[in-house]
């Protein structure tokens, strides 16, 4: 079974219109397998993307492009207790997670 999601790139285009990721430190909530993460991470300074789904995170880490290694970090965490200090991020992205 093959599904192709948004081959026209509408989601990526709108996302970049709404947020300037250039050099930003980004927190992504509910990253899942990183589908959205990979659409903006190349522009960002640093990305911390987290989810509670261990299996999805394993896929996200496996699919992380070499060029983004060191810039993107996937973590297992819940939005109820985000394990980062106050005032750490420029942008937060709720990725299909509210």
């Amino acid at each position: 079974m093959t599904v192709v999601k948004d081959p026209e790139g509408f989601e990526k285009k709108i996302l970049h219109q709404f947020a300037n990721f250039s050099g930003a430190k980004v927190l992504e909530v509910g990253c899942g397998e990183g589908r959205l993460t990979f659409k903006y991470a190349a522009s960002a300074g640093q990305v911390i993307a987290f989810d509670t789904d261990h299996d999805a995170l394993r896929i996200a880490r496996a699919d992380l492009p070499h060029a983004l290694q060191g810039r993107v970090h996937f973590a297992e965490a819940s939005a109820r207790h985000i394990p980062f200090p106050a005032e750490s991020f420029d942008v937060a992205v709720l990725a299909w997670s509210l």
Binding site: M1, V3, K5, D6, F18, A19, E87, S88, A92, L94
Partner: protein
């Protein structure tokens, strides 16, 4: 949800931005697309629990706005597509991945199959997913 939004607010720098990107339940349209054009096959059926989730999300954002935690700066609806090579692949995907929020009724599936069967060889089936993106600061 409100507690999670409080946590996000805590971790944002002063002047930081929150981007909320999510699908919204809206009886998404099923289409058959080919080089000859696009034909509508029908609409998916929203699952009530998913509609309630949408309403809860909107309530949570209204609450954090009323508390002065975030202020809505820009909002837009848009669509994008999920594509499958065949109606059967679409049905399998929906049964396995979307069972909690969208249902493909039998008559819509049959209509998609009929349209796809007589369409050009490059025909695919697709679902028009309605999305909402909001920037909060």
């Amino acid at each position: 949800m409100v507690h999670a939004l409080s946590e996000i607010r805590r971790t944002l720098k002063p002047g930081g931005r929150l981007i909320d990107l999510r699908p919204v339940e809206s009886n998404w349209q099923v289409e058959v697309s080919s080089s000859a054009g696009v034909q509508a096959a029908g609409w998916l059926t929203d699952v009530p629990a998913a509609v309630e989730d949408d309403e809860a999300a909107f309530r949570a954002m209204r609450e954090v706005e009323s508390r002065g935690w975030f202020s809505k700066k820009e909002e837009r609806e848009f669509s994008f597509f999920y594509y499958w090579d065949t109606p059967s692949e679409m049905k399998q995907f929906m049964d396995e991945e979307w069972e909690d929020f969208e249902k493909l009724e039998e008559d819509v599936f049959e209509n998609a199959r009929s349209l796809w069967a007589v369409a050009n060889a490059d025909a695919r089936v697709r679902v028009r997913v309605k999305m909402l993106i909001t920037r909060w600061e």
